[in-house]
Amino acid sequence: MTPRKLPMRNILRHPGRTASLTVLVAFLALSLFSGSVIVMSLMSGLRSLENRLGADLIVVPATSRGKIDPEKIYLQGTTGYYYMSASKLDEVRAMEGVVQASGQVFLASLRADCCSMPIQVIGFDPATDFTIRPWIGERMKTDLGKMEVAAGSRVNAGVNETIRIYGQPCLVAARLDESGTGLDTAVYCTMETMAELLSAAREMNHELKIDGDPAGVVSAIYVKTHPGEADRLAGEIRQTRSPKVTVIQTRTVTSDVERSLGGVSHTIAVLIICVWLLDLVLLTAAFLLLGGERRREFAVLRSLGMSRRDLAYLALKEAALISFFGGMNGIFLGLLILLPFSGLIEQALGLPYLRPGWPTMLALCAASLAAVCAAGPGAALLSARKLSRADIGTIMREGT
């Protein structure tokens, strides 16, 4: 047996010792990797929310707050519907400082059977829309036709599948990219299709509280303003009457999310630091204790002709191998928890959560493994130094 093979032999011959050290290192890797993935997912979710909202202001009827908080539709995918006259849209468009304004109509589908949950249906005007069209455009080059819908990534319907909303068959023409927000649980259609669906809902005695033509209503008006005009316009729109409206400033929504995200990220960062400090102290103590127990083993190796440098190399290589195995286990465990439970994590946090793509995930795996592979030998450094500098004669005499 060559000295090069000795570290691996030592590891395999002491399964108990190896297992305990591996578990400690696995915790280091698990905490670092999963913490980083969660923080990155939250940051991607926030960016995605900013892109998806797209507008500076969202105008909804004042009655909407009593029914359902509109922000919940964007963040948590809660279904809801409320309407106001489409004349409000023309009123907003005519205001000074408005660059673009487009209306959307919301409808919550009924629960069809035991497992088909109500889904949010959002109707938009392809001629004026600037929030949903770019999103659909990533997946579909042509416009949506009549009775065609684009499904959010979390709606369980494939392309060319037909879903029934209030008994009306709707063809899924596209599936949208994941946004990590509540908008993933909605389906999108044109105003023409929405008018049909509203009529069908009325025929099924679904109480919509729409007076007159369903084509003459909107649920929300998305407004893009000139830079710096959002606050003034929000105030101006709020002052208008008939109907009374609520103005949501998307900057407020995103800064609220950003604040919550900051809190969550801070907590995760503190937890990671605590776990690392605790684990590093434990690892250093474990390596030092082991070093004390292995003094005679090292003295024998030294008397057999191994240099001090070889002994330090042996101790450090053992630590590096254990760190590598532990790191791999920790990262595997992290993936095993984070990938299947991402939906639950998103629901528990109540914040936009968009898992990074595979290249980023692989980079995070590599970075976590590298950090752990550096931390393990780092913790063993003191022990390796003590062992390689010990006097053989003294150690051998201690045992006699």
Binding site: P15, G77, C114, C115, S116, M117, I119, R154, V155, N156, T185, L336, I337, P340, F341, G343, L344, Q347
Partner: protein
């Protein structure tokens, strides 16, 4: 029976118990507010039974260590992974409890049980080969 057999047998038994208890408690499938059975309801029974089978197999392997036991445990673990979604249908919406909690719990338990049983199988076969060699 050596220490490795005890360690791997205990790990498989523990995971089996977690699966069986989990299916009945924290990882139960969807329940409607009106008490009616959801389409995913049979997953609860299937996972409880499989958890019991895995625990029983681990118990048998304590009494008589043999390569057949980890093989059967591995097969049971694959079944556990396949139950929600492939063998028993689950709810369609991604936001349903069965998809958020039950399926991931079955997947994680199944993968861990599979890893433990395959490792144990490798050790058992290795020991058998070594005995045959000597």
């Amino acid at each position: 029976m050596n220490k490795k057999d005890i360690a791997f047998g205990s790990a498989a038994a523990f995971l089996g118990i977690v699966l069986a208890v989990g299916a009945q408690t924290f990882a139960h499938p969807c329940v409607h507010a009106d008490g009616s059975a959801a389409v995913c309801a049979p997953v609860k029974i299937w996972l409880t039974v499989m958890g019991g089978v895995i625990t029983a197999l681990a118990g048998v392997s304590f009494l008589r260590p043999h390569w057949v036991s980890p093989c059967l445990t591995a097969a049971a673990a694959i079944l556990v992974i396949l139950i929600p979604g492939c063998i028993v249908p689950v709810c369609r919406a991604d936001t349903m409890r069965c998809r958020l909690v039950t399926c991931p719990t079955a997947l994680v338990s199944g993968v861990l049980i599979l890893a433990v049983s395959l490792w144990r199988l490798a050790l058992t076969l290795n020991a058998k080969k070594r005995r045959a060699g000597s």
